[in-house]
Symmetry: C2
Subunit: 206 residues, 2 copies
DNA sequence: GTCTATATACAGATAGAC
DNA sequence: GTCTATCTGTATATAGAC
C-alpha cells in the first residue's frame, strides 16, 4: 500500500472514530458533518473524500458492528444446532451476548436506531431493521415450533418484540439517570421472556 | 366568546388536525412548519400566532392524547383496586386498551416517540417518557410484589420493558409491509408477557 | 489527499399591510 | 387574526489552491 493510501485510510479511520465519539455525546441526528471533522482534527472538505454523506458513514459503521456481532455469536455456539430458547441458560446466554454487542457498540447502535426512526413511520425502516436484526431469534423460535412447542405468537412478531425491547432499553437506559447494571437487565429480561409475569410456577392458583 | 376568538380557535384546531394528518404521512421530524400550514390551508405566519414552535404544537397534541387515555383507562376500571397483571383476562384487557389508545393516536404517539429519540441518548428523554407512560404498570407490579408474588425484576424496569415493546410495535408496525391484526398483536403480547416463551406449562420437561 | 473559502439550499422566524 | 414578503441562521456540498 502506498503512503498516500495509508494516509487516506488513517483519515477514514479517524473520521469513523470521531463519529462514534460525537454520536455518543450528541446523538446521530444532532451531529453535523463539521462536528465529526472537527473532532477528528480534519477539514470539512476531507469528509467527502471518504463518505458521500453522514448516512453512508453510518452504513460503514454498521458493517463494522455486524462483523463484530457475528464473531460474538459464533464464539457462543460454534456451528452447533439452533438454541433452545426455552432453556434458561441458553436464553440468558443469548440475551447476554446480544446485550454486550449492543453496549460495546452503543454509539453505532443508537445512531442506526435514530436513523430508522427519523425515516418516519411510513418508511417501514424501523420494522425492517427490527426483522433483520432478529432473524436469529426467529429461526430459533421456528425450530421450537417444529418441536410441537406452543409459541406465544407468530415467530416474526415474537422475535421482533424480543429484539425491540433489547434495543429500546439499550438506547434509553443510560448511566446517570437510571442505575440498572448490565446483569440486572439481562436477568430481568431473561426471567420476563422465559416465564413472563406469572413466573416459573406456570398457571397461578385460582 | 367573540367572533375573533372563534376564528382563532378554528385556526388552532385546523393546524392541529393538519399536523396529525401530515405527521402520519411523513413523520414528525420530516415535516416542516410550512407543510402543516399548507395542509391546514393557512399562511405560514399564522402558525406562530398559536404555537411558538413545532415542539409546542406537539405538547398540545400530547395533552389531548393524555386526556383521551385517562378516560379510556377510567372506563376500563372505574375506581377499583389495582389490576392483577398475572390474570390473563386483566392483562389482556389492559394491553388492549393501551394498544387502542396508541393506535387511535398513531400520529401523535409516533411524533412523541420521534421527538424523544431525536433528543439523543444522552438527553434521557426517551427513558423519561418510558417511565412516565408506564407508571400504571409499575404500580400494578409493585402491588403484586406486596402480595409476595415473585417478579422477573425491578418493577420500574419491567414496566418500562412492557411499555417499550408496545410503543415500539405501535410505531414500527404499519399496514402494508406487515400484516398482523390488532388482535394478533394483543394476543401474542399477552401470551408472551404472561407466561413467556416457556408457555403456561411452567417449567419445561427436562 | 487535504486544506480554505465559498456557493447552494432551505427551514425557522419576523415585519408590516390588511 | 391572517396574510404576503422577506430576513436570518445554518447545514450541506463543492471549487480550487497546495
Amino acid at each position: 500500500m502506498g503512503v498516500r493510501k495509508v494516509k487516506a485510510a488513517e483519515t477514514e479511520a479517524a473520521l469513523k472514530a470521531a463519529a462514534i465519539r460525537v454520536f455518543a455525546e450528541r446523538g446521530y441526528l444532532n451531529t453535523k458533518i463539521t462536528d465529526i471533522t472537527a473532532a477528528a482534527g480534519r477539514a470539512t472538505g476531507s469528509f467527502y473524500q471518504h463518505f458521500a454523506s453522514k448516512e453512508e458513514l453510518l452504513q460503514a459503521l454498521r458493517a463494522d458492528m455486524r462483523e463484530q456481532a457475528s464473531e460474538a455469536f459464533a464464539d457462543e455456539a460454534p456451528g452447533g444446532p439452533p438454541h433452545d430458547l426455552t432453556d434458561p441458560g441458553q436464553l440468558r446466554a443469548h440475551l447476554a451476548v446480544a446485550w454486550a454487542v449492543m453496549r460495546s457498540n452503543r454509539a453505532t447502535q443508537g445512531a442506526l436506531f435514530e436513523s430508522a426512526v427519523a425515516a418516519g413511520p411510513a418508511s417501514g425502516e424501523l420494522w425492517e431493521q427490527l426483522v433483520t436484526d432478529t432473524a436469529m431469534y426467529r429461526e430459533h423460535l421456528e425450530y421450537l415450533g417444529e418441536q410441537q412447542h406452543t409459541l406465544p405468537g407468530d415467530p416474526v412478531l415474537i422475535a421482533a418484540a424480543m429484539g425491540g425491547i433489547m434495543s429500546m432499553l439499550a438506547y434509553a437506559l443510560r448511566p446517570g439517570y437510571s442505575d440498572f447494571s448490565d446483569d440486572e437487565v439481562i436477568d430481568a429480561m431473561t426471567a420476563l421472556l422465559l416465564h413472563g409475569l406469572a413466573g416459573p410456577g406456570g398457571v397461578l392458583p385460582g
